[in-house]
């Protein structure tokens, strides 16, 4: 796989740089733009790693739908300028947390032998992916359908709880929600 080293290096650098851009951007809109670049760079990485189907999926599903969704929501939650500055404690916590995770992951990488990929990859074509989705991963594949349904229904339910009540001529008397009372 070493003839892929240089393309991989470029892709990784772009991914890391755009991720840093996401977290350092002052306005959420800029962060969303950096996220788009990040996901496209990941799609490129997937393509270099011969995972064609996942690369296309990343472009269509992630960049095309999820990042766009983020952009829409960012416009619905305006900050009126730059985002609030992080307080000092947060910066310290971020550094310590990220540092700890990096150290732990680096340590974990040293204990296992990283196998080298074969020069020509196994069958990772779209046909093979489809075959495995419908045989080995059938249950997971079928379960993604109710997962998405639940996500959509859940989003609607969460939203409607906070919808302003329609103003009628007389205010409707709303009964107290049943409270959980633990008497003992």
């Amino acid at each position: 796989m070493d003839n892929l080293f240089v393309p991989l290096l470029i892709g990784c650098l772009v991914a890391i740089a755009s991720a840093v851009g996401v977290i350092l951007a002052r306005r959420p809109v800029y962060a969303a733009a950096y996220l788009l670049l990040h996901s496209l760079s990941l799609a490129a990485l997937y393509a270099i790693l011969s995972a064609a189907m996942v690369a296309i999926g990343q472009v269509i599903i992630y960049s095309g739908a999820i990042v766009v969704l983020f952009l829409f929501v960012v416009t619905l939650l305006p900050t009126g300028g730059a985002e609030l500055r992080p307080i000092g404690g947060r910066i310290a916590a971020a550094c310590v947390g990220a540092g700890a995770v990096i150290v732990a992951l680096a340590a974990s990488l040293t204990i296992g032998a990283i196998p080298l990929a074969p020069a020509t990859p196994g069958d990772m074509s779209v046909a093979a992916v489809g075959h495995s989705l419908f045989s080995t991963l059938l249950v997971a594949f079928e379960l993604t359908a109710p997962l998405l349904l639940v996500a959509v229904v859940g989003a609607v339910v969460i939203w409607r709880r906070h919808e302003p009540r329609p103003r009628t001529v007389q205010p409707v008397k709303v009964s107290e929600p049943r409270r959980l009372v633990l008497h003992q």
Partner: protein, 571 residues
């Protein structure tokens, strides 16, 4: 009959569906469609028990993520016996509920939940491996919650149901851990003790400990007793069926079924016996001071389960099972008799409200008499003595100290049940107009007591036939002792002394004593321990800042720590 018995847990499901769909139509006939289920169960179970034999149903690889994820149902004489108990008490409780819940608006829901309970309890008893046992186990826990918190408008019932769920969760967790950590293919209950299966993580002792925790949670032993007295918030037929005869016996059933594993884990077995005896003494003392009629009987159940645990702990699994068998009938009798009085007093359960009202309900009074005498073990006449003598003598033979403690505690048994009997049935009623008789509701209630009365008298003799019949599932079984033994007579004497003493104390012709101790100031050391607890709790609750970033930080740190621990372990 065994192949039919292996599917016996589905017998109440048609009734469940019919009742849930609203058949029969009139509300006052709701539940009649469910009556057939437990009757069929009882008939099939008795025939199966008499015929003997054993049958296994296996569907391999039904839950692939568990080490032993087969669906395995085992029908042998042990499960037939448990299903006989279940069918017998369930049939009588169904008939009783037709009267008790006659004017309850949610009567249909009640019978649906009852059917669910009988089905899941049947599945538990027929389980052949840990995976299916877990499903039945959780199923009865859920049914118990639904039935405890049945009356939604009464305050406190939801809390009681949640307490039952909490204790159940501990037991379920232990059982799930056991089902996940046994070696591959070793989940079958009867092969848990083979050498290849006991060399897994922690060995036989660890699995036995997990099963003990699960059984203790289900049977309200040791520190996990708290939910059972509070479960009396549910309707009385439920207290009789679930929290006296069947569900709480599931813990004992588990220990008896896996007797071979317990034999390989002597330390855990000793702890089972110690916890059982400690629970007997503690619960008997607590029962003596209860102000609520049903809670007093509930603590009695906890104590009697302690006897069964003590027997299982010393390896006398048949003795424990025999006591389970007789206890089911006389405890259900006590609860249902109490329910007649409570129903007549319009739902009041406090002893101060029920004082003397029992004398207006003759069936209930006779039922309570027979139940009480069976409880503290009257030889020859009642079944309780046969099984209690068996338990006590087995425990004395194995652990003399524990055994003699059990004999002494029979005096407490007599005392608390004598106190309850005297207050409700013997004392002079303050207001004889406080009861209302409803003849059509009381008829099914009264007549359902009769089979239990007969059972509490004669079932002891069945022990001599049961012992060889259960030799297959239980390994070597010692026959129960003869009806009259010195230890049995001593225990009976102590119980009778306790009974009479408590009755005399209650009926003394002096000022009516309050049945609770109302002024109780804890000592200074208790208060300081409580203050210390508050300080610790306050400090710990400061971790809950509600800030999302802090929680995320904690998670990241935890990930890093776990990874580093793993790295250091591999090196």
């Amino acid at each position: 009959m065994m192949p039919v018995l292996a599917w016996a847990w589905v017998f109440t499901l048609p009734g469940l569906v019919l009742t849930a769909l609203g058949i029969p139509g009139q509300r006052k006939h709701a539940g009649y469609a469910s009556l057939a289920g437990p009757v069929v169960l009882l008939i099939v179970a008795v025939v199966g028990l008499l015929q003997g034999g054993s049958y296994t149903v296996v569907f391999p690889n039904w839950l692939p993520f568990l080490p032993d994820g087969a669906y395995e149902a085992l029908a042998d004489t042990l499960s037939a016996l448990m299903l006989t108990i279940l069918g017998f008490v369930a049939t009588l409780v169904y008939i009783y509920s037709l009267g008790y819940m006659a004017d309850d608006p949610s009567r249909r829901r009640f019978f649906v939940f009852l059917d669910l309970f009988v089905a899941t309890m049947g599945l538990l008893v027929l389980a052949g491996n840990l995976a299916v046992l877990l499903i039945g186990w959780t199923g009865v826990g859920i049914s118990s919650f639904l039935l405890i918190s049945f009356w939604r408008d009464k305050p406190g019932t939801l809390g009681a149901g949640l307490q039952a769920l909490a204790a159940n969760a501990v037991g379920d967790g232990a059982l799930l851990l056991a089902a996940s950590t046994v070696p591959n293919g070793c989940g079958t209950l009867v092969t848990l003790s083979t050498p290849q299966c006991t060399t897994g993580l922690g060995g036989a002792e660890f699995v036995a400990l997990l099963l003990f925790v699960a059984a203790a949670a289900k049977s309200a032993q040791g520190p996990l007793y708290f939910w059972l007295p509070n479960a009396m918030a549910g309707p009385t037929p439920i207290s009789a069926l679930i929290h006296a005869a069947t569900m709480v016996a599931a813990g004992v059933y588990l220990l008896v079924r896996t007797y071979a594993l317990l034999a390989l884990a002597p330390q855990v077995s000793l702890w089972i016996a110690i916890v059982g005896v400690a629970t007997v003494i503690g619960a008997s003392l607590a029962a003596l001071f209860q102000s609520n009629f049903k809670k007093g009987i509930a603590f009695s159940t906890v104590a009697q389960l302690g006897y069964m645990f003590a027997a299982a702990g010393v390896g006398a699994s048949f003795a424990g099972l025999f006591h389970l068998f007789t206890h089911a009938s006389f405890k259900a009798l006590l609860f249902l008799a109490a329910g007649v009085v409570i129903h007549g007093a319009a739902g009041h359960e406090e002893l101060s409200d029920l004082r003397g009202l029992g004398r207006f309900f003759p069936f209930s009074r006779w039922g309570f008499v027979i139940g009480s005498f069976a409880l503290f073990g009257t030889p020859l006449v009642t079944a309780g003595s046969f099984s209690k003598d068996d338990v006590v003598e087995s425990v004395i033979a194995a652990q003399p100290v524990l055994g003699w403690l059990l004999v002494l505690s029979v005096m407490l048994t007599g005392a608390y049940i004598g106190r309850l009997f005297a207050i409700v049935y013997l004392a002079r009623a303050r207001d004889s107009h406080a009861v209302h008789h409803d003849a059509s509701a009381e008829r099914p209630m009264n007549w359902s007591l009769v089979p239990l009365m007969i059972g509490s008298i004669v079932l002891g003799w069945a022990g001599y036939w049961l012992a060889p019949a259960l030799a297959g599932p239980l390994g070597s079984v010692q026959t129960p002792p003869p009806p009259i033994t010195p230890v049995g007579l001593l225990a009976f004497g102590l119980g009778l002394i306790g009974f009479v003493a408590a009755a005399w104390y209650v009926l003394r012709p002096q000022v009516v004593l309050p049945v609770t101790m109302t002024s109780y100031r804890p000592d200074r050391w208790v208060r300081s321990i409580a203050a210390g607890g508050y300080v610790v709790a306050g400090g710990v609750s400061r971790v809950q800042t509600g800030l999302l970033a802090m929680y995320a930080f904690g998670t990241l740190l935890a990930i890093a720590v776990i990874l580093l621990i793993r790295v250091s372990l591999v090196r």
